[in-house]
């Protein structure tokens, strides 16, 4: 299943970002070529989280011993052994990923079929909220879209595309885009208000 896990804008070239998806740690990163990658957040060598690593050119390097992984997730350099040709079996675990409509999506279990194509929105923010999706969507009158895990909603007069993922129990991370140019700042205020209401409801 395809799941939105971040706004494309929040992972620029050269950056890594750690994402928690249903308790699983993922690293999202983008090399100089511009294609977004989503991998298990774990280096095959000694298990270091790759989200602490650094991007050089089109490769992600692990912070612990500098092992370098190319876009296909295979390790291509082990600095401790500069002359070693790295066996192709050494690779990080990569998931199918795509970027569409301003969102980065991952298909962890490979059941999502061909990557979706979504209507472009203008990114506002990703917002972590301490509430489960049911509680949150009780507060937002939303219309499902044909796109995976995405709804259309109007909040305080602003028209949104809201993608989301669940980092863990009792939590949701919204990825908000707007359809009307110039509405972004108002949209962010509406989102902050929504977050307060959802968390207050949970506390009550």
């Amino acid at each position: 299943m395809w799941v939105p896990i971040a706004l494309g804008r929040d992972v620029p070239r050269g950056a890594t970002r750690a994402v928690l998806l249903e308790g699983e740690e993922l690293v999202v990163w983008r090399g100089e070529a511009g294609t977004v990658q989503v991998w298990e957040d774990r280096c095959p060598h000694r298990g270091m989280r790759l989200s602490f690593g650094f991007v050089r050119g089109d490769a992600l390097n692990c912070l612990y011993h500098g092992w370098e992984y190319g876009a296909g997730a295979s390790c291509r350099r082990i600095p401790a052994h500069p002359d070693l040709t790295v066996p192709p079996t050494i690779r990080a675990k990569a998931f199918a990923a795509t970027e569409t409509g301003g969102l980065i999506l991952v298909d962890r279990d490979g059941t999502g079929g061909p990557p979706p194509l979504m209507l472009a929105g203008l990114p506002v923010a990703s917002l972590a909220i301490a509430a489960d999706p049911e509680t949150l969507f009780q507060l937002v009158p939303a219309t499902p879209r044909p796109d995976p895990q995405l709804v259309e909603a109007t909040l305080d007069g602003v028209r949104f595309h809201l993608g989301w993922h669940v980092p863990g129990p009792g939590r949701i991370m919204l990825h908000a885009l707007v359809l009307d140019p110039g509405a972004e700042s108002r949209a962010l205020i509406a989102l902050h208000k929504l977050r307060s209401e959802a968390e207050a409801r949970r506390a009550a």
């Binding site: 929040d10 620029p12 750690a18 972590a128």
Partner: protein, 198 residues
């Protein structure tokens, strides 16, 4: 000659070391055995900055002192953003202390309620992320003004060391990008817990 009374693991001392590095200021360092030795300086807790006969204490005051006295460009303390800068300096000295205390409990087994401190610290990080998210929509990259200021330097260490007490930046995309930008500034230096590679 500038002389910093310094403890390597202190987030507040690091803010001063970072400012000195970004300003390219030569200085001498005196290691103070804050832990496990509980040592201080004749003027009180580290960080303490001596500049000739002048002595400046308090992390926020040292940063503004360095920006005023040793940065002819004035860009680290721009007059037009003075109010916003002082607001975030105050934030660093109040709201962010929960993260400092959480770190002491987590690393050095200092007394304290780690969960309660982490909850407060998380809310402080959220306030920063909200502010930066708002600023980004206005086309601005930093806490105050058009460029980095002492406000960014004052809050940076606590944000970056929050992992020491178990808080990651997963929930805070704007903070994550802001910290990357700050680390790209010429002259940037890290500290233990803030790696040189990113």
């Amino acid at each position: 000659m500038l002389r910093l009374h310094d403890y390597v693991l202190s987030a507040e001392c690091y803010a001063v070391r970072l400012m000195l590095a970004l300003l390219g200021l030569a200085h001498e360092r005196r290691a103070v055995d804050l832990y496990p030795g509980a040592a201080t300086t004749p003027w009180g807790d580290v960080p303490v900055l001596e500049d000739g006969d002048d002595v400046v204490t308090d992390p926020g005051l040292i940063l503004t002192y360095l920006a005023r006295a040793h940065d002819p460009s004035g860009r680290w303390l721009p007059a037009e953003s003075a109010a916003v800068v002082s607001r975030w300096l105050a934030f660093a000295a109040t709201d962010l202390t929960a993260l400092r205390d959480a770190r002491r409990v987590a690393i050095l087994a200092a007394p304290g309620d780690l969960d309660a401190l982490n909850r407060k610290g998380y809310m402080a990080l959220r306030a920063l992320d909200d502010h930066l998210a708002t600023r980004r929509l206005e086309g601005a990259d930093w806490l105050a003004g058009d460029g980095p200021t002492v406000a960014d330097i004052a809050v940076f260490p606590a944000v970056m060391l929050s992992h020491d007490s178990g808080i990651g930046l997963e929930d805070f995309p704007s903070l994550n990008l802001w910290q990357r930008r700050l680390r790209q500034l010429p002259g940037f230096v890290g500290m233990p817990g803030i790696p040189d590679y990113f």
